[in-house]
């Protein structure tokens, strides 16, 4: 192991490294990616925002039920982090998950149809807003219980390392990104997961999307050491850093350095990713616990506007191109809403599928959603067995 080094001296943006143990210095490479890459990021962020705006409308129209937590304001986090990952790196997150699903590559159609509770949803309408799963894109949910995804993320990383090192006899090649909100900092599951990750050298990055509020409780009212969350990880021997979450370039650069290091050393990281959610915790939240001034101050550093300005300034996009891009995004989201609305509700028989892999009793087994080419297994509803069936 290398000797202890000083934190990064590059202070253009927040990125500073703390370590429990001696670790190699993390120096983000801040070279600007090509225009085509930035255009994709810009479009992905626009797509998430437009998608979420339409979700809010659909929720008001009662097309979407249950709880709905939108990602507006935090688009740079999902897009920047996913850009820093490889396709084969698992991703798992909490219930504010539409942005991660879209950034990971789920079609807006499958995502919106899931919100609508329709059969063409990513989980055939059985998961809903808080439970977005996309196996082909290595997205392992969408989890509704605060902090529950943190031991799962640990386990995904354990498994990829086990596959690489124990089953193939090679070197660790993958990193898991496990997202959580700042509210999850106070759940025991996270602390057990961090201890195990530190102890077992598991390549998992715990990304705290620190938007300052767990529902209506400001971080300063909910957790100790809120001014320095890194301190929570250091006690577990986990390297920790603060990364900017309102500027996708900074998010990408910071996370790229962290992920590369986690991959190379097979070690966990803990990231305090500073961001802000513009809207309430869920659709029923009037945001009485914070001021409009505070919201406006954050909105002034909007992640989409920041990247667009940067690209215009560098001549990487023209104003017309940007307008066209937004037009295309709006059309795509209109299409996904129409698609979701036209998609059938799941057949009654779907109630009993996917409870068990193998058929038994009233359970006919499992089938895949249409986005994976499945959905053919929609048996008719089966009542509890008749007495004659038992003999």
């Amino acid at each position: 192991m290398n000797t202890m080094s000083t934190p990064s001296t590059d202070t253009r943006r927040l990125f500073d490294v703390h370590r429990g143990e001696a670790a190699p210095r993390i120096a983000p490479d801040r070279s600007v990616p090509p225009a085509a890459t930035l255009k994709k990021w810009l479009r992905d962020m626009m797509l998430i925002r437009e998608f979420e705006v339409r979700c809010m409308q659909a929720y008001q129209d009662k097309k979407i039920g249950g709880f709905c937590h939108v990602y507006i304001g935090q688009e740079a986090v999902a897009v920047g982090c996913v850009a820093a990952m490889k396709h084969e790196d698992p991703l798992v997150t909490a219930y504010r998950d539409h942005g991660h699903a879209l950034a990971r590559g789920m079609s807006a159609r499958a995502c919106m149809a899931e919100m609508f509770g329709r059969v063409d949803g990513c989980a055939k309408g059985k998961g809903g807003s808080m439970h977005m799963f996309d196996k082909p894109n290595n997205m392992f949910g969408g989890h509704g219980i605060v902090g529950a995804q943190t031991p799962l993320g640990l386990g995904l990383a354990f498994a990829t390392k086990y596959e690489d090192e124990v089953m193939r006899g090679g070197k660790n090649t993958r990193v898991t990104l496990c997202f959580l909100g700042d509210g999850a900092l106070n759940q025991g599951a996270l602390h057990e997961a961090m201890n195990l990750a530190g102890l077992m050298n598991i390549p998992v990055v715990f990304v705290v999307e620190n938007n300052g509020y767990s529902m209506g409780t400001s971080i300063h009212r909910g957790t100790t050491m809120a001014h320095d969350l890194k301190s929570k990880a250091i006690g577990y021997g986990i390297d920790a850093a603060v990364v900017e979450g309102m500027d996708v370039l900074e998010t990408y650069h910071g996370m790229k350095a962290v992920i590369d290091d986690a991959r190379a050393r097979s070690r966990p990281w803990f990231i305090d990713l500073r961001c802000y959610r513009y809207k309430g915790h869920s659709m029923s939240d009037p945001r009485k616990y914070r001021t409009r001034d505070e919201e406006e101050a954050w909105e002034a550093g909007d992640p989409i506007g920041t990247l667009e300005s940067f690209m215009l300034e560098k001549g990487m996009i023209t104003a017309d191109e940007s307008k066209e891009m937004l037009k295309g995004v709006k059309a795509e989201v209109r299409d996904c809403v129409a698609f979701a609305d036209a998609s059938p509700v799941p057949a009654d028989g779907e109630l009993y599928t996917d409870v068990y892999m193998e058929p038994w009793g009233p359970y006919p087994g499992s089938s895949k959603p249409s986005m994976m080419g499945g959905g053919e297994n929609t048996p008719s509803f089966r009542a509890i067995e008749r007495s004659e069936d038992l003999l």
Binding site: A148, P151, A159, E163, V166, A189, A193, L199, S366, L390
Partner: protein
Amino acid sequence: MSALREIEYRDALREAMAEEMRRDKRVFLLGEEVAEYNGAYKVSKGMLEEFGASRIIDTPISESGFAGMAIGAAMQGLRPIVEFMSWSFSLVAADPILNNAPKMLYMSGGQFGCPIVFRGNDGAGGQLGSTHSWCVEGMYSNVPGLKMAIPSTPDDAKGLLKTAIRDDDPVFFLESERMLGMKGHVPEGDEILVPFGKARTRREGTDCTIATWGRPVHFALEAAEALAKDGISCEVIDMRTIRPLDVGSVVRSVKKTSTCVVVDQSWSFGSPGSELASQVHRHCFDDLDNYVHRVHTADVPAPYAFNLEQEYLPNARKICEAVRAATYNA
């Protein structure tokens, strides 16, 4: 080797795990004291030596953390075996084992299954007091999406555990500290698989059907022996698995005997025993000469005192009383 080889229940569990680990590299064991300590109850004795520390994994006392970790690993395609030193300790892992493992396949619309086995000691019997004497089958069997096996003999312990490890769904495997040292015939060979959802008739009889599972199977056999001396012939059916529950075998037996006693070592309120009794009532409504009688653990927290604990649990005396009542021989 002799065909009548006898081994302990704990050895049978170890054979099942070791054979499946030799067969499939995706299988690994984790839990408290499973590796260097050789298992708190010596179930995993010697496995660290054979399989190494990357597959026999000691964890700190963090049931929620390591159970959740194993579930994440199962989602990625591994096949973990999680040992709970006692199922009583699984309560602090309730969220991962009840909210994640059995629901993952459903919530993901069939994308992510959870091929995992949780196993460990279940039930009272060693004067451990209230916190350490849980029979979790009462609570946990309420949850769809999981399977539950409760073996009562060494051969079933091996055959059911091998099936559990190969199963693509989460399996809750309930052993008993009081039975770990029990010896029984377990045939040689590594293809002894006991299918889930197939009850085993432990004793044939004509007057009363006793349906039970796990440790109380032995109390039921003891009771049946005693009752036989009084001319009451009991058929003892070992359910082996609670999910799936082989109601058909009990129904067929009750159509012959016309009376039924269900023995369940969990609390009576909302239990596997109440479910089975309800189903027997439904399917044998015209065959029964009496309502289904039930013997459960007393509906109180587990006591410490030896005599109180004996009175708390189902036992042969209580089963005899229930059979006499059910058959109008009281």
